[in-house]
């Protein structure tokens, strides 16, 4: 028992030493902070939420469409669902908003429900508005159509 304890203590110590020796040099840390940890740089200006009311294309059929309008101050909690005051089936006549699709009325066994399915209640789990911001990380997503085309041209050769 005692030997095990001493051994593990030794192992821990050597780990600590090793960790120190192999610590990553500062210029190799990939960070978005760009300022020493002990200083507080002025934050960059807040970006505008895109509020153009123009629907965006979806990247794949199952994608939850992004929200083309701002949602500042829209209450979404157990008491109130502001989104449904426009997007519910009965509300679309007045609001001229697209109705939440039928999948929002289905439970996980694919039964149709009379009301919005609880798993679709909190809209912003899946749908988000976009910011007028510079992309920080390049996105190398390839659309399915392009993949298919590339495969077809390859098959021809």
């Amino acid at each position: 028992m005692k030997t095990i304890k001493t051994l593990s203590a030794l192992a821990l110590m050597s780990f600590a030493l090793l960790g120190n020796a192999a610590s990553v040099p500062e210029d190799k840390i990939d960070t978005l902070r760009l300022a020493p940890l002990d200083s507080e740089p002025t934050p960059p200006a807040m970006q505008q939420v895109l509020n153009k009311d123009i629907k965006q294309a979806r990247s794949y059929p199952m994608q939850p469409p992004i929200i083309p309008h701002k949602i500042d101050g829209y209450q979404l909690d157990l008491k109130v669902n502001k989104c449904m005051s426009c997007h519910a089936r009965t509300r679309t006549g007045e609001s001229q908003a697209p109705m939440v699709s039928v999948t929002h009325y289905m439970d996980r066994e694919n039964n149709f429900l009379a009301e919005l399915s609880p798993r679709r209640y909190f809209c912003v789990q899946c749908h988000v508005p976009q910011l007028d911001a510079k992309i920080l990380v390049e996105n190398d997503f390839i659309d399915l159509d392009h993949l298919l085309k590339a495969e077809q041209t390859q098959a021809k050769h």
Binding site: K52, G73, K79
Partner: protein, 195 residues
């Protein structure tokens, strides 16, 4: 000096023989204006937001919520205070509203909303009073700041312009029909028209 004062006093005490009815009426009118003005100032004093949030019921619930909305801080720096939205600026409306406000003092004494739970339970009822009031006066308080005639639809978002140029312009709907909950959290909205 004393004699002079005594003479004036005498004149005041005696039924009027020297002064015409016209003068007396005019004097009464001037005095009335002065008193009315004083009353007005007293009303203005209670209009201050500080007065409203002097009660914890108002401060801990609705005021805290207001702080997070566009009517508290915004790029233009125009701040809407409680009386801007809740006490009509119009004279007669104002008095009527003050009379109703005595009910609030009653509420304070009997603690109808003195905890967050009680407030939340009662919020639907209180909100409905406000909706009814704003509906009845065609959202007068909102329009004191937001004048429909000067709304530039080309500068509004498409969603906003579409609604404002149709239902609002035709008078079929008023601000509060579409803009509930812009200043405070909403109660359970089941059964409310438009939800």
């Amino acid at each position: 000096m004393r004699e002079k004062l005594a003479r004036i006093w005498q004149t005041l005490r005696k039924p009027s023989v020297h002064y015409s009815l016209g003068f007396l009426t005019l004097g009464g009118f001037v005095a009335g204006v002065i008193f009315w003005g004083g009353f007005n100032t007293a009303l203005e004093a209670t209009n201050q937001e500080a007065f409203c949030i002097g009660c914890h019921e108002m401060e801990n619930n609705v005021y805290e919520e207001l702080k997070t909305t566009i009517h508290f801080t915004n790029r233009s720096g125009v701040r809407a205070t409680c009386p801007d939205c809740h006490v009509p600026h119009n004279w007669t409306d104002k008095i009527a509203r003050k009379m109703q406000a005595s009910k609030e003092v009653w509420g304070k004494v009997f603690g109808t909303i003195n905890t967050r739970e009680k407030f939340e339970e009662k919020r639907r009822e209180l909100a409905e009073h406000e909706w009814a009031r704003l509906k009845a006066n065609d959202s007068l308080e909102c329009r004191n700041c937001h004048n429909f005639d000067y709304m530039d639809f080309t500068r509004q978002s498409k969603r906003a312009a579409e609604m404002h140029s149709t239902s609002l312009a035709s008078g079929e709907k008023t601000c509060i029909d579409c803009h509930k909950g812009i200043a405070h959290h909403l109660p359970d909205m089941s059964g409310v028209k438009g939800w």
